[in-house]
């Protein structure tokens, strides 16, 4: 995060010198509503299951997110149809697209 809080007045952004008094709200609000909704993202990937498992096995930080699951991981088949869903522990189950 690039926001360096200055007292209770505002923030300095990174190395820039301007004091930005309204930025904390501008970061999350457009004046009418909050912009960051909590939801679980669906990640669709067109790639071989083995290749994705290799990446997950080699990167615990990614695997934790999909195993627990903070993200839903879905695989697209060669026709581009979402056909399998990651169920954790490097396992996938077939799904029937709606």
């Amino acid at each position: 995060m690039l926001h360096n809080v200055v007292g209770r007045m505002g923030i300095l952004e990174g190395t820039a010198g301007d004091l930005r008094s309204g930025l904390p709200w501008q970061s999350v609000h457009d004046g009418e509503g909050l912009q960051h909704e909590p939801f679980r993202r669906n990640v669709f990937i067109e790639a071989p299951i083995d290749a994705m498992n290799d990446v997950l096995a080699a990167n615990p930080s990614v695997r934790h997110r999909v195993d627990n699951p903070w993200l839903r991981l879905l695989a697209m088949d060669d026709a581009g149809t979402p056909s399998r869903r990651y169920t954790g522990d490097l396992q996938w189950e077939p799904i029937t697209p709606a």
Partner: protein, 183 residues
């Protein structure tokens, strides 16, 4: 720097040949000139050490990347992570990149204005705050661009064009799964 100190030292020395107002004016001129010289030097240094290509790692450039097809050949290896010449606009492509495709050296007409190119905007902090980058992103789709072409995803999806058949050792797959997807 040695030259500057040699100029300033006699200007500060009250026993020097210059005296009074003349000496003060000279000192002001030296300090002012040195300041702007340093400013210009720092500006040039920052320009050269932080090339436009640094934006290739940023979210905004990745989003725009889906508008362009993958190059026919895998991206040439580089010391800095990059999605290859076909994935960024021409302005950010390193001139030393070997085997650049024509598309990377000649920006398309719609992206010819440097003041509006996505790569330039991606490093312009006067643009929308970075925190807005993926808000509202309900889905992330890493696939051929053609898989979603023409579909109305209502602006809620982050698209990243990718052809695993051209992804040697799945290096790009790993890069995307470990970086943009987990942001």
């Amino acid at each position: 720097m040695l030259g500057t100190s040699h100029i300033i030292a006699p200007a500060l020395d009250s026993t020097g040949e210059l005296a009074g107002t003349t000496r003060a004016s000279f000192l002001v001129a030296v300090v002012t000139t040195s300041f702007f010289a340093l400013e210009a030097g720092a500006y040039q240094l920052l320009r050269t050490t932080v090339p436009d290509g640094v934006g290739a790692n940023s979210v905004q450039v990745v989003v725009i990347a889906v508008l362009r097809p993958m190059p026919e050949s895998p991206p040439p290896s580089s010391t800095t992570p990059t999605f290859g010449p076909g994935w960024s606009n021409g302005a950010s492509t390193s001139p030393t990149t070997p085997g650049s495709s024509p598309a990377s050296t000649t920006p398309p007409p719609t992206m010819s204005s440097s003041s509006t190119t996505p790569s330039r905007r991606s490093t312009d902090w006067a643009q929308v705050r970075p925190e807005w980058g993926q808000s509202g992103g309900r889905a992330f789709i890493l696939a051929l661009r053609s898989r979603t072409e023409g579909r109305d995803l209502a602006g809620y999806s982050f698209l990243h064009s990718h052809d695993w058949r051209q992804d040697d050792d799945f290096g790009v797959l790993q890069l995307v799964m470990t970086a943009p997807i987990v942001v």
